[in-house]
Amino acid sequence: MVIKKYFYVVLILLALTTFSVAGVFAEEAASAPAAPSWDAKFAADTVWVLITAFLVFFMNLGFGMVETGLCRSKNAVNILSKNVIVFCVTTVFFWFIGFGIMFGNGSPFFGASGWMLYGADNSPATGDAYQGVFASLNWTGVPLYAKFIFQLVFAGTAATIVSGAVAERIKYFSFFAFSVAMAIVIYPVAGHWIWGGGWLATMKTPFLDFAGSTVVHSIGGWAALIGAILLGPRIGKYTKDGKVNAIPGHDMGMATLGMFVLWFGWFGFNPGSTMAADPDAIARVTINTCIAGAVGGVAATFAAYLMLGKPDLSMALNGILAGLVAITAPCNWVTPFGSLIIGTVAGILVVYAVLFFDKVKVDDPVGAISVHLVNGIWGTLSLGLFAANVSGGITGLFYGGGIAQLISQIKGVVAVGVYVVVVSLIVWLVIKSVMGLRVEEDEEREGLDIGEHGMQAYPDFVGTSSTRGIV
């Protein structure tokens, strides 16, 4: 115990040293270029990017509530704690390292400049007028800090997806460590390939992912999948005779609340990814996002009703999220009708995926893999099918654009999949050998809240009028 504690103290001290050194450079970065005099487009774009970033930030609440609601009360503090710390940690490490790897100038495989936002940058200059180390973001005319904030909240989302799939059995500090790896290496490298001017973005027919079905959701989903496999299922989830036991979540109100917050946040996630107040684009992306989520919910409700005999609320929630994940990649290039199809498929897919992962005994308490990985892939591919030449000339197979885009999409899906599986496998295994992944069996039975946090989420005897002492 004592030794473990000091291990962490050293870790913090190390971090603080890094911070201090970093600070020196950071200072210079602070001496930003002079702001241009007030410009309407510059202002409108920045307002739009920041407000949508706030909405995406708010999705942290959504994830926290969905995940906590779909797990048992004895693990609620643990899940909440993970969801609280994951964005905090991502902020620090994505700022220091991740952003430079993702968007800094470098090789086709990773960026290698712009650590701690340090380096030349004359944002909001755009296109050829841009001179600096974040050339891959030169298409949007907002201040560098606004670019960073918007990308940061996306990085936070990718990390938080993992949290749900590994819930109810992972050690708190092991998850903490994995989050650091997500922010430093897993997310930014694959992200660089797609959004950072890397090799996928510079293929002849570039791989496209408007708001991150692959960059955010699939990356998070792959990492979650490997984590869930390595951890193994929760005690009692699968019996020796192969039966699947349901482990109902403890608060469906909380889960529903979380879903609505996520949907609300998605109106920042997708429309904000224009990173500009371009009226037609943001209106188009908004309607597509709304429709895909809505039909995802309807489709999952009916799919669950037909297969399971009842309209399962948790499936409806997953269905909406599935529709939203799927439309995330193509939302700028498809028609509302395309969104309808994409969302319907997503809603059905998620129900089957949940059943499938249970069948292969990958225990994912909240359905994160089915929602984010499966539909992240589906959404990314769907772009190659349904892109309707509504923006930038992107046209998919069903709209007469041939198979080129679809092939690029497949390439991207595979490449990202292989990369994330391999790297996150290594990271999970390193963490496992250094600090262990899974809590003790007894702790898991009693609940991680007491074991890891010495706390209960709901310590009152409910309804008792004086509760101190009854804990």
Binding site: N245, A246, P248, M307, L308, D312, M315, V351, V354, G367
Partner: protein, 112 residues
Amino acid sequence: MKKIEAIIKPFKLDEVKDELNKAGIQGITVSEVKGFGRQKGHTELYRGAEYVVDFLPKVKLEIIVTDDLAEKVINTIMNTAKTGRIGDGKIFVSNLEDAIRIRTGERGKDAI
């Protein structure tokens, strides 16, 4: 003195309480329980996986009465809590040796 424990359907609680009151009962202690009995639970699906809800919500009443009142209480509960359907619940009677009222220290019958 007798201790009468009755396991009944939750929605019957109010009615049973009112009738017991009329029957002259002075006190009841109620708790929430889950019951497993002849009334079989149901198999539900949560996210496609089965789970058996075989513990059904019930309410348990504990009533301490003098021996002479016992039959009246039993009958009152039986008549009021009965719906005629499986799962109506049961009444258990046991012997009580002593009762004490904390406030006054009274014991035995006086304490009920």
